[in-house]
Symmetry: C2
Subunit: 236 residues, 2 copies
């Protein structure tokens, strides 16, 4: 089956978590909004013109008759079809739980530059961003990193669910890569405390399909329109 991924065409954003899973799986997919007229096609779904079950926001994935929204939901549906999660129910519930925790972490990373919401430009909420970012790099970031590092320390295989790679590892790679881009100083300072997460990042980056993807034009570069933004003043 050829999947259709719908997401904003100029940023990694939440769509990137799905792209990484599709790429690691070697799945056949179209990144629709990056094609001619793709954004209009995406809007048609959001407006309920192309489906009865309109998603609230991108990303969403079309798989035959199914139109699936919400990043963690898409990944949960895709993963067992492509060997990206163990078969047992307990493992899948745990994977979904971790993915939702990553989603919470991602919101907090985003909110460092948009504490007052997406309605205002960063330039219109800079003092607020400085306060929120200081709390993020000083308190929340170490807490999230520490949580996943401790989980990795309990597992033997170096992956977050144990001996085999899952979609949650791909998402942890993306978090590490994005946070290193946005907060290089804070991440470098915290790095000695999280050797397992750093190793996981490198292991994911060197997988054959992921390495090919990261070197291709399909991988959009980090930029200051996405979730992870490098504003040096926020990286205390």
């Amino acid at each position: 089956m050829r999947y259709e991924l719908y997401y904003w065409p100029s940023i990694q954003g939440r769509g990137e978590f799905v792209r990484l899973a599709l790429e690691e799986a070697g799945a056949d997919y179209l990144d629709v909004a990056r094609l001619p007229h793709g954004t209009a096609a995406m809007m048609s779904f959001l407006e309920g013109k192309s489906t009865d079950r309109a998603p609230f926001a991108p990303p969403f994935l079309r798989a035959g008759k199914l139109v699936i929204g919400q990043t963690a939901n898409i990944l949960m549906w895709l993963a067992p079809r492509h060997g990206l999660v163990p078969k047992s129910e307990a493992a899948r519930i745990w994977a979904n739980q971790l993915q939702l925790t990553i989603a919470d972490w991602l919101v907090e990373a985003h909110d460092t530059h948009h504490p007052l919401g997406a309605a205002f430009y960063y330039e219109d909420q800079k003092p607020e961003s400085l306060r929120r970012a200081a709390n993020f790099t000083g308190s929340r970031l170490p807490k999230f990193l520490g949580y996943f590092e401790r989980l990795l320390a309990r597992e033997k295989g170096g992956w977050i669910l144990g001996r085999t790679l899952s979609y949650v590892d791909l998402s942890l790679f993306q978090m590490a890569a994005g946070l290193r881009y946005a907060f290089p100083r804070a991440m470098e300072r915290l790095r000695p405390k999280h050797p397992r997460l750093a190793a996981l990042h490198d292991r994911v980056a060197s997988r054959t399909r992921i390495a090919a993807y990261l070197g291709s034009k399909r991988r959009i570069a980090f930029n200051e329109h996405g979730i992870f933004r490098h504003y040096p003043e926020l990286d205390a």
Copy 2:
């Protein structure tokens, strides 16, 4: 099976979405943190002392050997065991998608009084709250309400998934109740545009088990420590 729910004992918060599902199901459960020594038991799980799969934060549910965290994940696991979601995979994926959209909405409701994060008191982020809340009541709230109202208009049975109540309806009830508590003026003003959501709220509230629950001491009253807080100055 007797479930054990772990959540902060003095607020509705995210735990309430799980409580409503357990109550509607007539499930046997303990609200552990509200019992003597319950908060210490909860902390033991969060610190990884009582489980290898420590949740990042409450709520979490213990069901036999399983310890399940993340509200939407708990509900997705509970619902098929208690007839709170249709059996088809497509319906369950859709229900989870809607629940995750409600979770996003909930974060935005919370952030009206904590735009700079949970590290600072409301009193220390009041001007920022005023800006964020004005955008919430003026733009985001109507957008979320309109989304769910449109979905309800497409269904025949008055429930969000059609003819039978699901856990997503219970969560929509909670959103409506909480938003009416926090933003009575904004919600009253918007009410004529969302008759189906208002009807759904009343229908859930009048269900036998839910009505009994809402009238009992098990239902914690809304208060200014929870997610939905009534600060009149934020209700423009």
